[in-house]
Subunit: 369 residues, 2 copies
DNA sequence: GTGAAAGCGCTAACAT
DNA sequence: ATGTTAGCGCTTTCAC
């Protein structure tokens, strides 16, 4: 109860040492759980710690340990209008700059409009928390922002990065690798980079969808693909098309979407206009499937009676849909947790092997197909 | 082009100073943009910086400046089953512990199931980014987790906290205030705490909804409230009820929900069972309104023909609904940005006044009412 | 305008 | 098993 601390600042190791009548080193040992400390002294130190209200100063610790005990969670990719080379843009500049802030059109807003990212955050946080760590959230959709991420890591603010790319040609993974920094990716990069990643067997997932649609008797099947410059979008289309071809449907109607509900709606409109008789649709994610369902119903089609719909992801959108979506489950939380585990492993053993993990998708049958 | 750096580690101020032929102090001045440095030397130093590839070490800087240049974004509140005092729980303990991880039932997962949080993150990040800062994401649903948040701030890992409480009796704001730490809250705390906050005029929002429903001719109106132990839930109900009373409807059917789609569905079922003739519903958030719409349609009611539905928030759920929801817009991104601004202000002037900001909601008319 | 030197709070040899 | 000591890389008086 004696309030020994008189200096203004927070109590330091020195203060605790004085209170306990030992040296700084001993207090440090106790605080960090290093053995070789007399139990009696340990107890005395613990007393002193709680009496003084001591908390280790993170900066001082980081300075000497050279670890930040923090990791960055980076959402990377191109912003709105990746290669917007319209001739009418007045200001020349280097093409991409940080746009307006706060508006619902910002990259950040776009990102979180997809339930996918919330699930990634969930997986990462749930893995990190029991280990006393917390992620620093960063976005990197411009080259300037990417430089900042690299600088952030270089200055030791974080020990490594978890990178979720929204775009195939994302240069960030290579930048990080070149700088010799630790990272793990969500999804395999377009061009090989010596970095671990977790990914889903997208093609297998698409096959599950195709098999299901065919299995329930659909014969005029179309698909709403994701953006084809995103590996996941491309793989899901390929997997779907291959399976359909193998079953005697070499040509299937395709409408490309952008993984958004709105793009799913317009893709469905297009498909319906050209193929009014279709009886099955595979959308490359749930958000687009949800949009497709709206359009189908507006056109008087019952689901799954007239048209069966299969989505992908098993995100919250699958349950927001009526009927609830039959979909291909992507275990995003588990994948994000694994990604985090890989990074922490890497930090613990920097020379360990670069290993990646591929998850298998699973069909979840609900009402829409 | 001369590669001077020979020591293994990253280049330090010392290295740059040597390369530029000046002292560490001068390099520091240049790097930090302090005036009183000869332009010629400035240039020389800048050269040396880029030649050596120097990046300031954050820990060393923090140690002396006593600022982390980081802030925490904390989602606080009770986890699943706030006061789960069922007698059948085997392990006694203090009631709340960290549950399983990764599962979709975790607190983290619950939080991000609501589009609301993604919008908060968006607003915070978009405000922080141009200022070169990034938020550290933390969750605090158990008393242990709350202690960790306080410890995190006390050890200087972050300069302050942005706190979003999901629960009225959340003790975190008081804990932070008592520890003399900087914070700004999203939503006014249940019991007064000397901390700034941003909030919405919930009652005004509910009034807009009531006026709209009455204005379009609805006469048998019910409401699906939010959890009444959450200030926002309580205020929206009060505002709605008061307005209805003022217009001659002192008693209106109420079903309490939990701000989730599912709870909105069951609430709607209950209302419909007791009041099959209702022609208007106000749901205290969009997720519940979405659930209500599903149930109404399953019961053969057309929207807005038979029953008009008004939601609250103007979240992504409003557009995921068919017809799209007429709703009360809460400018979450703007509120989050303002919250961040208040915190940064506070950090810049610790003795400044504690001011809070209340935002006005706005009715967005779409198809559902 | 610039350099020298002190020291932020901590950990990790090394010595005892 | 414990204490002594030397920095980690940076900012910041204080002299010059």
């Amino acid at each position: 109860m004696t309030d020994d601390q008189r200096s203004a600042g927070a109590p330091t190791l020195e203060d605790v040492a004085r209170a306990a009548g030992v040296s700084r080193a001993t207090v440090s040992r106790v605080v960090n759980g290093v053995r070789n400390v007399d139990p009696v002294i340990q107890e005395a130190v613990r007393q002193a710690v709680s009496v003084t209200g001591y908390t280790p100063n993170r900066a001082a610790r980081s300075l000497v340990t050279r670890r930040a005990d923090a990791i960055a969670l980076v959402v990377s990719g191109a912003g709105v209008e990746p290669e917007a080379a319209r001739g009418d843009s007045g200001t020349g500049a280097s093409g991409e700059e940080d746009g307006g802030s706060g508006g619902s059109g910002s990259f950040t807003a776009q990102v979180f409009a997809d339930p996918f990212f919330g699930r990634v955050v969930t997986g990462v946080v749930d893995y990190l928390r029991p280990r006393g760590m917390h992620p620093v959230l960063m976005f990197a959709e411009t080259s300037r922002a990417r430089e900042e991420v690299v600088a952030y890591l270089r200055q030791g603010s974080a020990d490594g990065a978890l990178v979720v790319s929204t775009h195939a040609e994302d240069p960030l993974p290579a930048l990080i690798a070149d700088a010799g920094l630790a990272a793990v990716l969500f999804a395999r990069p377009a061009r090989p980079v010596p970095v671990s990643y977790v990914d889903l067997a997208h093609q297998d997932g698409a096959r599950l969808a195709a098999d299901h649609l065919l299995g329930r008797g659909c014969r005029r099947i179309a698909t709403i693909s994701g953006p084809l410059d995103v590996p996941a979008g491309e793989a899901r289309l390929t997997g779907f098309r291959d399976t359909m071809a193998r079953h005697g449907h070499p040509y299937i109607p395709i409408a490309e979407g952008q993984f958004t509900q709105e793009s799913g709606e317009s893709a469905m409109e297009r498909l319906l206009a050209e193929h009014p008789d279709l009886d099955g649709v595979f959308a490359a994610n749930d958000l687009m499937a949800l949009g497709a369902c709206h359009v189908l119903r507006e056109h008087g089609r019952s689901i799954p009676g007239d048209v069966a719909v299969v989505g992908f992801d098993d995100s919250s959108a699958a349950l927001a849909c009526r009927p609830p979506l039959t979909t291909v489950r992507q275990p995003v939380e588990g994948m994000a947790a694994e990604m985090t585990r890989l990074l922490l492993d890497r930090l613990a053993r920097p020379d360990g092997p670069v290993t990646s993990v591929i998850f298998e998708p699973e069909l979840v049958v609900r009402g829409s197909a």
